[in-house]
């Protein structure tokens, strides 16, 4: 029964390298998507693990602005091919 009462696991990903400097990384909605697409490392190295202040999501959040759920760290919005149907 004890497992029912343990603290919520803050890290939803089992991938812990490289160490994540960004304080938002563990709850970032982009994480799941990027990881599933196999491209997480690429983005992490550029943003989450180092220069996270340049991440568009972090920047908008720190300004108190609503962060679009599909905002990529580069500032581009993630769109999919059929999105303009």
């Amino acid at each position: 029964m004890r497992h029912l009462f343990k603290r919520e696991d803050p890290a939803r990903t089992s991938d812990r390298s490289p160490p994540l400097a960004c304080p938002h990384a563990r709850s970032c909605e982009m994480f799941d998507l990027l990881q599933a697409a196999g491209t997480l490392k690429t983005w992490q190295i550029r943003y989450c693990a180092g220069n996270y202040q340049t991440c568009a999501r972090y920047e908008m959040s720190a300004q108190g602005k609503p962060v679009p759920p599909n905002l990529l760290p580069s500032g581009q919005l993630l769109r999919f091919a059929g999105g303009d149907r």
Partner: protein, 141 residues
């Protein structure tokens, strides 16, 4: 059930409960904060207690890991909490209550409600201009 219907049901249920518990009465709230009556305080404690036991069960039985917004301590937590507390004791209302009071016919709640929107707006402006600290997560709930 459509989202609007569900949303409307939830708000109505919450409003009804808050009204019946007594949170929409300035006097009752004041009694709670001066410990003249422990009824509402106990209600709050019971509510939190039941939820503390319930959430792990919900997580355990959920098919997917619930995506709950984390609430870490950040630079606005303490000061914001203190400011909110003073405001609550003065107005007798937290954000939901002002609306419940309106529903009960307390027209003066319009002042409270206007103040809440103004205060939220003011803080948003001040934070963007002067504070720029992270609130710990991008999820806003």
């Amino acid at each position: 059930m459509s989202t609007w219907l569900r949303t409307g049901l939830m708000g109505t249920g919450l409003g009804f409960a808050l009204s019946r518990i007594g949170f929409s009465s300035w006097d009752e709230v004041h009694r709670m904060f001066t410990f003249a009556s422990l009824r509402m305080l106990l209600a709050f404690v019971v509510g939190v207690g039941v939820l503390t036991l319930a959430w792990p069960l919900v997580r355990h039985f959920s098919r997917a890991t619930p995506r709950w917004s984390p609430r870490p301590i950040h630079r606005g937590t303490l000061a914001g909490g203190l400011i909110f507390g003073v405001g609550w004791a003065l107005s007798g209302a937290c954000p939901s209550i002002a609306l419940v009071q309106l529903g009960e016919g307390q027209a003066a709640a319009l002042f409270t409600l206007s103040g809440i929107f103004v205060g939220n707006w003011l803080y948003s402006w001040a934070h963007e201009r002067y504070f720029r600290w992270s609130a710990g997560s991008c999820i806003d709930d």
